[in-house]
């Protein structure tokens, strides 16, 4: 690809803010992800506060932080309201999925690592790359603004199922029947039209109001807009990654010499580019239903809320679920395949041994991605779709567990007979493998259609998603940050602090999420504000409390990571080009690499994992065969 159109940046603004340099853009994604990670974590703690101490969560909180008393609406007494609670878990999941894990894996690591690891000077389309970051800002705006609108931020779950999310109340029609008792808690009732002639903006907002839930009005509209923009960003990233990987590889970097991180990003980008349009269409349809009164998700006979009828429809609420999961099942792999690649690279560098089964690892990624397109229905076994479809979706779902198992076996075989250096990075990578086993196994329970009848929408699902997303993807991200931090910032993070953080996070995350399996086996439904009103769930309340305590500690422990990260950017010990003595191309550049990355175009002679080579000077061949770090070790970049 032509790189001349992309000169070295001149001033501060073009260098660090509106930069086309993939490294700066990657770091921008990293930092915005970090901020949303904090927000998402706090929202989760709100959820756990309520579940640990239903009806007295705020009392507990006020004991510790009396100064908060003023900011809590008096009408709640000492309680988090049920509507507020639905907002907490909805926005927690939305933030973590669409604003943390996806931007971190694809945006931050994808951007930073792809050109460096394939020996390119930059992305194929630097301007598009820059745009992919800045398109996120409208998404940030709508997401954050939605917390402050009438009715609050979205509250129909990250899955946003119609008609809870989509039903509208046409404000032009007077609304005699809204059940006063049921709706008293929702502050979004349109102001009575007689009291004052509302302005245009008021009238528009009133049109958005939902008879189903207070937060499904303006909050839901903003949620949809936020997701449309963040999807646009991912789409721009994906086409760029695909083009870059196909066209910008250094001489000798055949596809089968690419590090698994790049394979993970490549497969993910393809998944994204094929699946995202479907989600975007679904979001736009729901947006139109919410705003201009289309009826894509409104059934022919309409709906009745109390005595109040919507107009007639002609659509199908189930359509949303098909479109949504057609994207969001591949999306769960979008959130793990890059991490799988990164973990493989980290693992190999610290095992000092070639990756076991490079080709099976690549093919299993491709297999997961391919099968990932035909399993979406496993989220809908109980949805009311024709149950005979469940049979096919179950068969496809169990098949997808096979390549996942193959990956686990190959990682284990990589570790077997190696010589592992235990560092913060390698420990997090090892934890990924151990925890992904648990997450994969719980997936099999849900893949079994009859068992899923019972555990669907219980805490078993919540346990599953956190084993694959927190204990796997997040641990992969921790590993990746520790591993590539020296390349990004020219310094290393403190390894002892990293290990303390790993130790505590590993313990507490298991303490938080493993008991959720038990809750699920007991039948505890997810998204419940107060399970204690049920007799059959009283017995698990101690577990709920234990989970909440672990979760709060888990949140606190992340401060160690944050402090280590921020401190090391400025004060960490300087690292050379290749502090881990790894083989892939990024380690041949200075830390951090300059504009254009490589001093001379690298020529690739070897695969990425030539470790334990007895004939080589240092027991390894770097991909260019140079082992340049040996020559330059000690000389600072």
């Amino acid at each position: 690809m032509n790189h001349d159109s992309h000169p070295a940046p001149g001033n501060f603004l073009t260098k660090y803010v509106f930069s086309g340099d993939h490294k700066i853009i990657g770091i921008q994604f990293l930092f915005s992800g970090l901020l949303f990670w904090i927000l998402g974590g706090l929202l989760a703690l709100g959820v756990r506060l309520q579940l640990g101490w239903p009806n007295q969560a705020l009392n507990e909180l006020l004991k510790w932080f009396p100064s908060l008393a003023d900011s809590i609406p008096a009408s709640w007494g000492s309680r988090i309201s049920p509507e507020f609670y639905t907002m907490l878990f909805t926005m927690h999941a939305t933030v973590m999925i669409f604003f943390v894990v996806v931007p971190w894996l694809g945006g931050a690591f994808g951007n930073y690592l792809i050109p460096l690891m394939i020996g390119a000077k930059d992305m194929a389309f630097p301007k598009l790359n820059m745009l992919s970051y800045w398109v996120l800002w409208p998404a940030f705006f709508f997401l954050l603004a939605s917390f402050f609108v009438d009715g609050g931020a979205a509250g129909s779950g990250w899955t946003a199922y119609p008609t809870l999310s989509s039903a509208t109340q046409n404000a032009d029609i007077p609304d005699p029947g809204l059940d006063a008792a049921a709706k008293a808690t929702t502050p979004t009732n349109p102001p009575s039209p007689t009291s004052m002639e509302p302005g245009l903006w008021e009238r528009i907002k009133n049109r958005w109001n939902s008879p189903a839930a207070g937060q499904s009005g303006q909050g839901q509209v903003y949620w949809l807009l936020a997701l449309i923009f963040s999807g646009t960003s991912s789409m721009m990233g994906s086409v760029n990654y695909i083009t870059t990987i196909l066209n910008c590889r250094a001489p000798g970097m055949t596809l089968m010499r690419m590090p698994l991180t790049v394979w993970g990003m490549f497969v993910t980008a393809i998944l994204q580019s094929l699946a995202l349009p479907v989600l975007t269409v679904a979001l736009i349809m729901q947006f139109l239903d919410r705003t201009v009164g289309t009826v894509f998700f409104l059934p022919p006979a309409g709906l009745a809320f109390g005595n109040w009828q919507t107009g007639t429809g002609g659509g199908q609420p189930l359509l949303w679920q098909h479109l949504f999961w057609f994207y969001s099942h591949p999306a769960v792999y979008i959130m793990i395949l890059p991490a799988m690649g990164m973990v493989s690279d980290v693992l190999v560098a610290f095992c000092r041994k070639p990756l076991f089964g490079y080709k099976p690892m690549v093919f299993s990624m491709i297999g997961i991605a391919g099968l990932g397109f035909i399993v979406w229905g496993h989220h809908m076994f109980q949805s009311g779709m024709d149950p005979r479809l469940g049979t096919g979706f179950m068969a496809a779902t169990v098949l997808i567990a096979v390549p996942s198992a193959v990956k686990i076996f190959n990682w284990l075989a990589t570790i077997w007979g190696s010589r592992i250096r235990f560092t913060s990075a390698s420990l997090n990578a090892l934890a990924f493998i151990s925890m992904f086993i648990i997450g994969g196994l719980s997936g099999i329970y849900m893949a079994s259609t009859p068992v899923d009848i019972y555990i669907h929408d219980t805490y078993f699902i919540v346990a599953h998603i956190h084993y694959v997303l927190f204990l796997s993807s997040m641990f992969g991200i921790y590993a990746g940050i520790h591993f590539w931090f020296p390349k990004m910032f020219g310094r290393t993070m403190n390894d002892s602090l990293g290990k303390v953080h790993f130790f505590l996070t590993f313990l507490l995350a298991n303490g938080t999420f493993f008991p959720m399996h038990i809750l699920g086996i007991r039948g505890h439904p997810r998204r419940y504000y107060d399970p204690t009103i049920f007799d059959w769930l009283a017995s698990v309340q101690p577990l709920n409390q234990f989970v909440s305590i672990c979760a709060i500690l888990l949140g606190l422990v992340q401060v160690i990571f944050l402090a280590n990260f921020l401190f090391s950017i400025f004060f960490g010990p300087k690292s050379g080009r290749n502090p881990w003595e790894a083989n892939t191309l990024e380690w041949e550049t200075p830390s951090p690499p300059g504009h254009g990355n490589f001093e001379t175009t690298p020529i690739v002679l070897h695969g990425p994992y030539e470790y334990a080579v007895t004939t080589a000077i240092n027991g390894r061949f770097s991909q260019t065969g140079l082992n340049r770090d040996q020559i330059q070790q000690g000389n600072h970049p």
Binding site: Y161, A212, N307, F356, V402, A405, Y454, I518, I521
Partner: protein
Amino acid sequence: MHRFWSLLFAAVNMACLALLVVAYAYPGLGWWLPDSASTQANEIDSLFYLITGLCAFFFVATQGILIYSLWRFPSTAPGSPSPIHGHPGLEIGWTIAPLVGLLVITAASLPVWKEARYQGFPPPALEGTNPLPPEADQVILVTARQWDWHLKYATESLPAEGIRQWASVGNPSDLIIANELHVWKGAKVSLLLRTTDVIHSFFVPALRLKQDTLPGKTIPMRFEATVSNVRFDPAEGRVVPNETKASWEIACAELCGGNHFRMRGKLFVHPDRKSYDAWLDHSRRQTRSRSLTAMLPNASSSNQKEGALQ
């Protein structure tokens, strides 16, 4: 120090396993599957244990290898790492082994699914007259709305081809009750699930039954209870717990708004048809004496949480 990490991985994994074992071994804790009171529940539980057995094997094997490797192969261990790049035989082996396990699970699951969900049901695509399998002893229409369940019991026997008609219009003698599901042990119960507003999900843990209600659709479902927990006491004019003292609840499993968690109902399994009929007769006479309009679905307050009998 290097052994420490191996021990940590061992400790965490063993603690996880131990929690499962404790929860299973001490039913008194109430940390395991709740009572199982239907044919379907027993089958689902057996599948659950089958999967647990296979998963336990896989879990112990893989985590064991991992923990042993961490113990045996730290960088401080003598010798050097082996330069092996792969092994086709192993790859084939560990592709086939999980595949076999998974096919066993699939083969065991699909008949249960078929029986629970579509065997004998008329194809849903045919919007014919009767959406239900023919053998029903009891037909109950469940209408969900924010935030309770309305259950309509037919008191006259229904012609099979009239069931759709009955679901939408009904007979004057029908009994409509909020949040109480009454059946008798051994009855082949057919449910028709509907919603007036948003998606809900009818979840009866003791029956291992869960089905979303979809706006615009009527979804058929069936079950057969195998254990009874109450009987109708004509003297007291209400249902009383029997010796099992079991209280079985109904919950909503699909987010349906702020009070989603409050859609609590109860399941009453009578010992036989006689007790059920006595209850039905009694309740119908009681409710008829109240205003009939008060029982129309739209009129009762959504705060009403318990049915006529509590």
